[in-house]
């Protein structure tokens, strides 16, 4: 990375971990066989694929390798979980939370065109979904429930285990999905602890390549494939397996789990220094979801009187790369549905910026970034 640049947009995507790059380089060129084939090259690919599947299952505490479905990324995993579970059910309603990623919200919305109804659980002012808010929406017709593990804008951690418990107490047959794309980066994750039936991960969020992800599907959960045209992934996700990408993603997963402690110590410590410096320099700055359990590498802040759009451009000019967490396809910032759901007025939401630290964040980054932000904010006021 360019030493003059401070990359604080790890929640958007994070640089690939060396183990993943090494795995990619090793696999590309060697793993040219189609894993579905009947010859030596195909077997090599198939073996690598199944080894990766076994390893991935073990890393998240899944019962069986078969519970892992490899996909093209977090978006596809979310689509497959929500739409796939709904379509496999004879029930016709889904429950999602208001702060879900668009991949979940729009999966739910697209189901309404096929006659499903969607119920949306609200969050509190800190962006936390309470188990009651979900439970009260669950009815006899609920086909699937989806609540993310940690929010991708604020980093607020959701009480997934409690939500699962409440929903199960009402109806133990409803499949429950969680999008853990951000959570897995910062917190140790064990399927058994969560108790969910479906769990999405995205490779590039934790140091794997883009274009690859996975969906955990418990042995008792039925899903229908969203894509059609092949029998790969036990008929749940057709398409030639991206073996090199999958192997690299699982190599990164392994690094994530092995370095979990160090991650929260370095990224978390730098985040803390960063926030402390900001708040000391300007007490009007407010940390979003600051009072609740948050991912250690997330810092979502409201800087009164400074438009995020302007601040991000000024920071870009001095080599500090941050984001708001919501942008449209042209790159223009758009109103965040998450902040709106939290009850934040639109003009406040426009003054919020997200800084996310990562696995390669070096010591001193938090202080250096805070200095730049403070200086830029002063110039803008």
């Amino acid at each position: 990375m360019n030493p003059d640049e401070i990359y604080l947009d790890h929640a958007a995507t994070t640089p690939m971990r060396p183990a993943a790059i090494a795995a990619l380089e090793e696999s590309f060129g060697v793993m040219y066989g189609n894993a579905a084939g009947q010859h030596g090259a195909a077997r090599r690919a198939k073996n690598a694929l199944e080894e990766a599947r076994e390893q991935a299952a073990e890393l998240i505490g899944a019962d069986r390798p078969h519970d892992i479905v490899f996909t093209s990324g977090g978006t596809e995993s979310d689509n497959l979980a929500v739409m796939g579970a709904a379509m496999a059910s004879n029930r016709r309603s889904v429950v999602v939370s208001s702060i879900e990623h668009k991949a979940v919200l729009e999966s739910a919305a697209s189901l309404t065109r096929s006659g499903y109804s969607v119920r949306i659980a609200s969050c509190d002012r800190n962006g936390v979904i309470h188990p009651d808010a979900v439970a009260q929406l669950v009815e006899g017709d609920t086909a699937v429930v989806s609540v993310m593990s940690a929010n991708n804008e604020t980093g607020s951690i959701q009480p997934v285990a409690e939500i699962v418990e409440r929903v199960r107490s009402l109806d133990h047959t409803i499949p429950i999905h969680t999008d853990a794309a951000q959570y897995f980066v910062g917190k140790s994750l064990d399927i058994a602890e969560f108790g969910v039936d479906l769990l999405s991960l995205s490779g590039h969020k934790f140091g794997g390549p883009t274009g690859v992800g996975m969906l955990y599907v418990s042995s008792t959960t039925q899903i229908e494939s969203v894509l059609v045209g092949g029998n790969q992934e036990a008929g749940r996700r057709p398409g030639t397996s991206n073996v090199a990408g999958i192997v690299a993603m699982v190599a990164a997963m392994s690094e994530v789990v092995r370095n979990r402690q160090r991650f929260s110590e370095t990224a978390g410590a730098e985040r803390d220094v960063f926030e402390r410096s900001l708040l000391e320099s300007d007490p009007t700055i407010a940390v979003t979801a600051g009072g609740v359990d948050r991912l250690a590498h997330f810092s979502h802040v409201h800087i009164p009187g400074v438009l995020a759009e302007t601040l991000l451009i000024r920071l870009d000019a001095v080599g500090v790369f941050a984001a708001t967490g919501s942008a449209c396809q042209s790159g223009a910032l758009e109103a965040s549905h998450v902040l709106t759901a939290m009850g934040m007025p639109g003009d406040v939401a426009q003054e919020c910026v997200r800084f996310t630290f990562g696995w390669d964040t070096s010591p001193g980054t938090g202080a250096a970034a805070a200095d730049q932000v403070i200086e830029t904010v002063r110039a803008l006021r």
Partner: protein
């Protein structure tokens, strides 16, 4: 010195960015996201579309300058699109491009220029900004056929001192040549003609979508009040319009009056369209206001030659009396005053 270049994805603003770099500025490119469909996406047809933004982004990358898309949808909707629809509802013929310049580009974006740490705002307009002994002047473009000084008349001294229009110094042919020399992908891209937010290509369809139930319909009258035809709604008409009247009387007829309340259109001969003058509101001046009773040259249409007129202040309004009778300008359109090559100011025609 830093320059903020408003890049539309067209050849003019692409070359403007390149010229500012040549002049030694640190340059930032921006495209304004001004309009979106109900799905929140940028339009894919018409001007200022997603593909235009992508062209701008690729040119910026080629010039090695940072590039951003800024969200001006709310400002643009309030200041330009809604008044456009309301104007037509009231029988006016609004000019949304001028309103965009007045209320978005050279206000909101000019303020943003400073916030982004830039000294000047640059656009690809064909006109010239010059400084004469501490006075900033707006001048017609070198290329008279492409002159856009008319749509920039609202710039005052504060605005002109911060706006740079480098392509106004060259002909369109030279602009395209420069773009080709620089290898810019926009070198041979056609000029846009449409109103940027009217993606269907027909503003009447757009208005029908924007304001349900405004189609209406009524009688076409002659000057004696006799019914000579029928029309599908006053919204489709503008004063001076000759085509599409749906009436054939053997010689050309023009719209001379539009009554929204009664939904009537009155048509007449060219002579019936002639008027001695017009009344203008929201007047602004590039420098000092003109004197009451001053004789100036005025343009009441974008593409017409200036004519002489005497300007007299009447309360908040200015009445212009033409030296020779002129075809009646459509209310909602813009009058711009000139002194030779130089713009003195202008405003919105109300009657």
């Amino acid at each position: 010195m830093k320059a903020l270049v408003a890049m539309s994805g067209g050849v003019n603003s692409s070359v403007a960015a390149a010229l500012m770099i040549e002049q030694g500025y640190d340059v930032i490119g921006v495209t304004l996201k001004q309009w979106e469909g109900p799905n929140g996406l940028m339009p894919v047809a018409g001007c200022c579309t997603l593909s235009d933004a992508e062209d701008a982004r690729r040119v910026a990358a080629q010039l090695d300058i940072p590039y951003y898309v800024l969200d001006y949808v709310e400002e643009f909707t309030e200041a330009v699109v809604k008044p456009f629809a309301e104007g037509y509802q009231r029988g006016l013929t609004p000019n949304p491009c001028i309103e965009c310049n007045r209320k978005v580009r050279f206000t909101a974006l000019l303020e943003r220029t400073e916030a982004l740490g830039c000294d000047v705002l640059v656009t690809g307009h064909h006109a010239r900004v010059e400084e004469h002994d501490g006075v900033w002047k707006l001048r017609k473009a070198v290329d008279g056929t492409k002159d856009q000084s008319y749509v920039l008349h609202m710039l005052d001294q504060a605005g002109l001192s911060k706006v740079r229009l480098p392509v106004g110094e060259m002909t369109k042919t030279v602009v395209r040549e420069r773009a080709a020399e620089l290898g810019l992908r926009t070198a041979s891209k056609p000029d846009s003609q449409d109103i940027c937010f009217v993606t269907s290509g027909d503003y009447r369809d757009f208005l029908a979508d924007m304001v349900p139930g405004m189609e209406g319909g009524g009688d076409v009258l002659d000057l004696d009040g006799a019914v000579v035809g029928h029309h599908e709604g006053t919204v489709g008409f503008t004063i001076g319009q000759r085509k599409g009247l749906g009436v054939s009387v053997g010689e050309p007829r023009y719209v001379v009056d539009i009554e929204v309340e009664d939904q009537t259109i009155t048509i007449g001969r060219y002579e019936d369209l002639l008027t001695d003058g017009c009344v203008v509101s929201e007047m602004s001046f590039t420098n000092e206001p003109i004197s009451n009773g001053e004789h100036v040259e005025v343009k009441v249409r974008y593409r017409s030659e200036p004519v002489g007129a005497v300007a007299v202040l009447e309360g908040d309004l200015w009445r212009f009396t033409f030296d020779e009778p002129q075809a009646r300008p459509a209310p909602g359109q813009t009058l711009v005053m000139y002194d030779g090559d130089y713009v003195l100011g202008g405003g919105v025609i109300v009657a």
